[in-house]
Symmetry: C2
Subunit: 143 residues, 2 copies
Amino acid sequence: MKNKLNRFRKFIKDSDLLFSRERHEIAACVFDLDTHFSADELYLKLKQQGSNVSRATVYRTLDLLVKAKLLSKLQMKQGQHLYENYDGIMHHDHMICVNCGKIIEFSSTEIETIQKQICKKYNFKMKSHMLRICGLCEECQKK
Amino acid sequence: MKNKLNRFRKFIKDSDLLFSRERHEIAACVFDLDTHFSADELYLKLKQQGSNVSRATVYRTLDLLVKAKLLSKLQMKQGQHLYENYDGIMHHDHMICVNCGKIIEFSSTEIETIQKQICKKYNFKMKSHMLRICGLCEECQKK
DNA sequence: TTCCCTGCAAAGCTTTTGCATGCGA
DNA sequence: TCGCATGCAAAAGCTTTGCAGGGAA
């Protein structure tokens, strides 16, 4: 967490930007989360902690964190987005429960390999990829 | 196309709805397309053809077509959606060129198989899934 | 002093919804 | 006649942007 904050500070400095109090506050709050969260949830959490940052600044800082590759942005339905801490080590995908909204992360090197083969076949240069499985989680199936 | 129109008519009748002129017009226009399209593009195409349908009706009818499983709805960035004709035969996924927007469809039974295994492992009941690869298509790499 | 950052409010965009009207069965 | 379907306009929901003021180097 401390480490990520330093990486963010470095990114900001390297981009000739200012590591403002607001950016610090928001980043610290983000790195403190280990779940998927929306911009508004983050904004409310900051408010609750007594912060005075505005929604605009939250959005602007989240963008910076994504650019710094410290955060991933996931498209959800209806123009909503979720963010998640990104460790940059290994790509992972998501299973999303359509009933309770739970998100389960998984990864598969096999799928990654096949994807690469497919890209090669089509001469497509992959920059990113996402796999999402929607359905019912274990608990919700029981209900 | 004629066939899909009949299937849509049947779906509408079976749902105790009316197969109105507008629904006919919109569905015919949709089945005539073989690309991915947005609701607004469809609306404009209809206008261009001299139709007087409103955006609201376009959206409402697209929803019906999705419910009838004659159309798939894809989430794109920024809360936008694209639709594509759905033949119901085989699932396919997409490679999207981030430069020109081209969409290449592909399918992989191997990936489908691995997905099923993963779901089994997590006791997750899959209802749908989507895989998307973003990057550069062949032409755009050359530029 | 310079200029980036912030907050506020307004705008943007796509999609949905309320409501009165109207057409079809 | 009855009621679903439509069109219009407004609302909704999230996100972005313009702008003026404030603060850091």
